[in-house]
C-alpha cells in the first residue's frame, strides 16, 4: 500500500506548493490513468479497499495560514488541509461519484481532443447521470474538485475558458508560427486575451513600457486605448472587464515575471467591489480553487482612493448598495486584509535589496513579510472603512467631470507622484 501511495505522488514530488499546473492533454490523461490504476490496485489488493479521494480543501477556513508553515516557506498561503471525497461516508458518497463522473467525461473529451464548455458538460452529465447532477453549480464545483485532485488547471481538463480580458499598449505578442501582434495598434478595442493558458504560456512577449495598468472596466480601458495613453505614459493596459478570469490573471502574472521591474497599478472604482477586484488580481479568490493563488501579482492601488474624492463632484457619489456592504463586510473579515497575512512578492523595495543575499533566515523573512504587508493592509482596511463610513461609492467615470481627457492626466499625476499603495 505504501509504495502505491508513493508512486501516485511522484508527479508532485518536485513541488511543495498546491498549485494547479498547466499541463498538456496527454499529461492530464496520464494523471487520470494513474488515479484509476491507483484506485483499481487498492481495490484488488490482498487487503482490498475503496480509496478515498483526498483534495486540497477550498474551504475558506483553509485559506488561513498557520504559524508553523510560515517558518518553512515564506509564501505559502493556501493551507494544505485536505478534505476527502469518500464513497464510504454517506455525506460525501455522491460527491465522490461526481468527481469520477466528471473525470470520466473530461477523459473522454481529452481523448477526442476536444474542448467543452461548462454548460455542455452540465447537459451531458444531466442526461448521463441525472441522479448525481442537478445544477450547473454542482458541475462547476466538481470540476474544481477534479482540479484539486489532479492538480492541473481547469483548462487542462479540456474545459473551454473564454477570457473576457483585453490588452493594449506597448506590448508585442507573438504566438508560435504567427505574426507579431502590436497591441498599441489594436485600436480602442484592444487585443483579446485568449482563454488558452497553454497558448498564453507560449507567447513571446516584448515591451518597452514602464508601467502595467490594470483597469477594472472595459469602458475605461477603451477610453484609455482610444486616447493612446500608452504613448504618453509608456505602459501596457490590461482589463478583465470586471472580476478577473484566470487567463487575464495568467497573462498579467506572466508579464510580471517577464518584466519584473514594471510596477502594476490598478485603476478601480472606489467601492468595495473595486477593491475586491483588485484583491482578486492580487490573490485570486477561493472560488477559483487551486488556480487562484498561482497567479498572484503585486498589484498596487493607484485609484480611485479616498484622497481622490476631492477631485470628484458631489453629485457623482452614489449611496452604497446593499451588495456593496456585503462585499465590504466579507473583505473586512477576510484573511487577506488581516495584518498577519503574508502576501507574495509584496515585499516592496526591501524585497529587491534582500534577494541578492540568498541566505536569509526564514524567520527574518517572516518579519519582513509582516511589517511590509501590515502597512498596505492597514491602508486598504482604512480605505474600506472610509467607504463604509461615508456610505458612498464612486466610479472611475466620475473623473470625467473634469472632461474626457482628465483621466489621462490623472494617471500621469499618480504615476509621477508615485501615489499608489
Amino acid at each position: 500500500m505504501e509504495d502505491l501511495r508513493e508512486s501516485s505522488m511522484r508527479f508532485f514530488s518536485d513541488q511543495n506548493l498546491c498549485y494547479a499546473d498547466i499541463v498538456s492533454p496527454s499529461e492530464v490523461r496520464a494523471r487520470i490513468e494513474v488515479t484509476v490504476l491507483n484506485f483499481l490496485r487498492i481495490l484488488t489488493a490482498p487487503a482490498p479497499a475503496i480509496s478515498d479521494l483526498s483534495l486540497i480543501s477550498r474551504d475558506s477556513s483553509n485559506s488561513r495560514v498557520s504559524e508553523g508553515l510560515l517558518t518553512q516557506v515564506s509564501w505559502i498561503f493556501l493551507s494544505h488541509s485536505f478534505c476527502t471525497r469518500s464513497l464510504m461516508r454517506a455525506n460525501t458518497a455522491k460527491a465522490f461519484i461526481r468527481v469520477w463522473k466528471v473525470m470520466e467525461m473530461c477523459f473522454r473529451i481529452l481523448v477526442q481532443e476536444k474542448r467543452v464548455t461548462q454548460r455542455e458538460l452540465f447537459y451531458k452529465l444531466l442526461c448521463d447521470s441525472p441522479d448525481y447532477f442537478t445544477s450547473q453549480l454542482q458541475v462547476n464545483r466538481t470540476i474544481q474538485d477534479v482540479v484539486a485532485l489532479l492538480r492541473c488547471s481547469r483548462f487542462s481538463l479540456g474545459i473551454m475558458a473564454s477570457s473576457r480580458g483585453l490588452v493594449a499598449g506597448r506590448l508585442l505578442l507573438q504566438e508560435p508560427n504567427q505574426e507579431v501582434v502590436d497591441c498599441s495598434a489594436c485600436g480602442s478595442s484592444g487585443h483579446p486575451i485568449s482563454g488558452d493558458l497553454s497558448l498564453l504560456e507560449k507567447l513571446v512577449l516584448k515591451t518597452d513600457a514602464r508601467y502595467i495598468i490594470v483597469v477594472e472596466k472595459h469602458a475605461i480601458f477603451q477610453r484609455l486605448a482610444e486616447d493612446c495613453i500608452f504613448n504618453q505614459i509608456p505602459s501596457i493596459l490590461i482589463t478583465a472587464r470586471g472580476y478577473p478570469d484566470i487567463a487575464t490573471r495568467f497573462l498579467l502574472h506572466r508579464l510580471s515575471r517577464a518584466f519584473p521591474h514594471l510596477p502594476i497599478l490598478a485603476l478601480v472604482d472606489w467601492n468595495p467591489a473595486g477593491l475586491a477586484i483588485l484583491c482578486t488580481f492580487k490573490y485570486g479568490s477561493i472560488g477559483m480553487g487551486l488556480e487562484a493563488y498561482r497567479y498572484a501579482c503585486n498589484v498596487k492601488w493607484m485609484g480611485l482612493r479616498g484622497d481622490d474624492l476631492q477631485l470628484i463632484s458631489e453629485q457623482s457619489m452614489v449611496p452604497l448598495k446593499q451588495r456593496d456592504l456585503q462585499i465590504a463586510k466579507s473583505l473586512m473579515s477576510s484573511e487577506i486584509l488581516q495584518v498577519n497575512y503574508p502576501a507574495p512578492h509584496n515585499l516592496g523595495p526591501f524585497h529587491f535589496s534582500l534577494t541578492t543575499s540568498k541566505k536569509v533566515e526564514p524567520i527574518f523573512w517572516k518579519i519582513v513579510n509582516i511589517v511590509q504587508t501590515g502597512i498596505w493592509q492597514e491602508t486598504y482596511r482604512e480605505e474600506l472603512a472610509v467607504m463604509v463610513e461615508r456610505g458612498q461609492r464612486v466610479e472611475i467615470e466620475a473623473l470625467y467631470f473634469h472632461g474626457y481627457d482628465y483621466l489621462g492626466k490623472y494617471i500621469a499625476k499618480k504615476i509621477v507622484q508615485a501615489n499608489y499603495i
Binding site: K114, V116, Y123, P130, S162, G187, P192, A219, Y400, Y404
Partner: protein, 366 residues
C-alpha cells in the same frame, strides 16, 4: 486617414445641433416657450391583425416637449445636457459611451435609462444614428470564419485562422475592404455555441462566417452584420436557444428593437433566416427529457406578448407558429441540449442538415 466622410458627417451634425440650439434661443429671446417636437417610431404594434404601417419606418406621431410640464422640463434638461456632451465629443472627435455620459451628471440622470432615452431623442431630432453622435458602446460581439477586412488601419484577417474569434469592431463605419469567400453567415445567440463551433473547427469544414452578439446583440454587432449582408449578399442563418429570450434575440436581429425603432432601417436584417432550435426539434432529435425545462410564468407572459407583434403574422407566419408551439408544449431548451449525444452533433449534423432543409425549402418555394 480618419475618413473625410466621417468628418463631414460630424460637421453636418454639429450644424444641426447649433440649429437646434438657436431655435431654442430664438424662442426664449422672444419670450416664447420653446417647443421641442420628437418624432415617434415603432417597428411593431401589438395588434397582429391590424393594417398598420409598422414596417414602413413611417413615424408614428410626435411628442411635444414644452416648459409647461415638469416631466417635460426634466426631459429637456437631460436632453440638453446630453446634447452638450455630444457636441463636445463631436468637436473633439472623441468617443464616449453611454455610461461615460451618465457619469457626467449621475444625480441628475439618476439612472442609465434616462440617458439612453435622451440619446435616442437626440438621434431622432438630428435624424442620425447613434454612432454619428460619437456615442459608442463597448463591443461584445465576436466574429470568425472566411472573412478579411480593415477597420481603420487595423487588419482583421480571420481567413488566416478561420476558427479564431475576433472582436467585432466598435467603429463599424470604419470597416472597409471586406473580402470573403464564405457561402453563408451564421449568427449564434451565445458565446458558448460560438466556442463549440470554433472548437469543432466548424469553419474549416464549412465556408462560412460565424457571428455572435453574446446574448442581445449590441449595435456594433447588428450594424456589422447589416454591413456584411449588404456587401456580401450572403444567406444568413440564426441559431438561438429554444426559449422566449432566444426568440426575442432572433427578432432583434431580423426586425430591430423597439427602442431603436427610429434607426431600424439601418439595424435590422430582414435576410435573417431562423435556423433553430425549433420547439419541434426536441422530438425530432430525441432530446432527453432532463434537458427540457418547463416554461416559467414569466416565459409564458413574454411569449404571449411577442405573439402579438404585428410583424410576425405579416412577415414570418411560420415563426409565429413555432412560437405558438413553444407555448403549447410548455417547455424550452438550450442549444447545448443538442450536444448531449455527441459534442460534434451541432457542427457535423444539426447545422448542415438545417441549412440543407432551408435551402431546399427556398428552392421549392421559388
Amino acid at each position: 486617414m480618419e475618413g473625410k466622410r466621417s468628418s463631414s458627417e460630424r460637421s453636418v451634425l454639429l450644424r444641426k445641433i447649433r440649429e437646434f440650439t438657436r431655435t431654442i434661443v430664438e424662442d426664449l429671446s422672444n419670450g416664447r416657450s420653446p417647443i421641442v417636437l420628437i418624432d415617434r417610431f415603432r417597428n411593431y404594434c401589438t395588434n397582429p391583425n391590424a393594417i398598420c404601417y409598422c414596417s414602413t419606418d413611417l413615424l408614428n406621431g410626435k411628442e411635444t416637449l414644452t416648459l409647461r410640464r415638469e416631466s417635460h422640463v426634466h426631459r429637456l434638461d437631460v436632453l440638453l445636457r446630453v446634447l452638450l456632451i455630444v457636441q463636445k465629443l463631436l468637436q473633439e472627435n472623441r468617443h464616449g459611451s453611454k455610461r461615460d455620459i451618465y457619469y457626467m451628471h449621475p444625480s441628475v440622470f439618476s439612472e442609465q435609462s434616462v440617458v439612453d432615452r435622451a440619446i435616442n431623442d437626440i438621434c431622432i431630432l438630428m435624424q442620425c444614428s447613434r454612432h454619428n453622435l460619437n456615442v459608442v458602446s463597448v463591443g461584445k460581439g465576436l466574429v470568425m470564419g472566411w472573412i478579411r477586412f480593415l477597420e481603420n488601419r487595423r487588419k482583421f484577417d480571420c481567413i488566416n485562422r478561420p476558427n479564431m474569434a475576433h472582436p467585432i469592431p466598435v467603429h463599424v463605419e470604419e470597416v472597409k475592404d471586406i473580402v470573403s469567400v464564405a457561402r453563408y453567415i451564421l449568427v449564434v445567440e451565445k458565446e458558448s455555441v460560438f466556442e463549440r463551433l470554433a472548437n469543432d473547427q466548424f469553419c474549416n469544414a464549412n465556408r462560412c462566417i460565424v457571428i455572435t452578439g453574446r446574448g442581445y446583440p449590441d449595435i456594433p454587432t447588428r450594424r456589422f452584420l447589416r454591413l456584411l449582408i449588404d456587401k456580401l449578399c450572403l444567406p444568413t442563418y440564426c441559431l438561438v436557444d429554444c426559449d422566449p429570450y432566444g426568440f426575442d434575440i432572433l427578432t432583434t436581429y431580423r426586425f430591430g428593437s423597439m427602442q431603436m425603432a427610429y434607426d431600424a432601417k439601418y439595424l435590422r436584417c430582414p435576410e435573417v433566416c431562423w435556423l433553430g432550435a425549433f420547439p419541434s426539434d426536441s422530438e425530432k432529435y430525441c432530446l432527453p427529457q432532463q434537458c427540457l425545462l418547463p416554461l416559467t410564468a414569466q416565459d409564458r407572459k413574454k411569449i404571449e406578448a411577442m405573439l402579438n407583434r404585428c410583424y410576425l403574422q405579416r412577415e414570418v407566419p411560420k415563426w409565429r407558429l413555432e412560437l405558438e408551439l413553444m407555448l403549447q408544449r410548455g417547455v424550452k431548451f438550450e442549444i447545448e441540449a443538442l450536444s448531449v449525444h455527441s459534442l460534434s452533433f451541432l457542427s457535423k449534423e444539426y447545422i448542415p442538415s438545417k441549412i440543407q432543409e432551408l435551402c431546399s425549402e427556398s428552392e421549392f418555394t421559388v
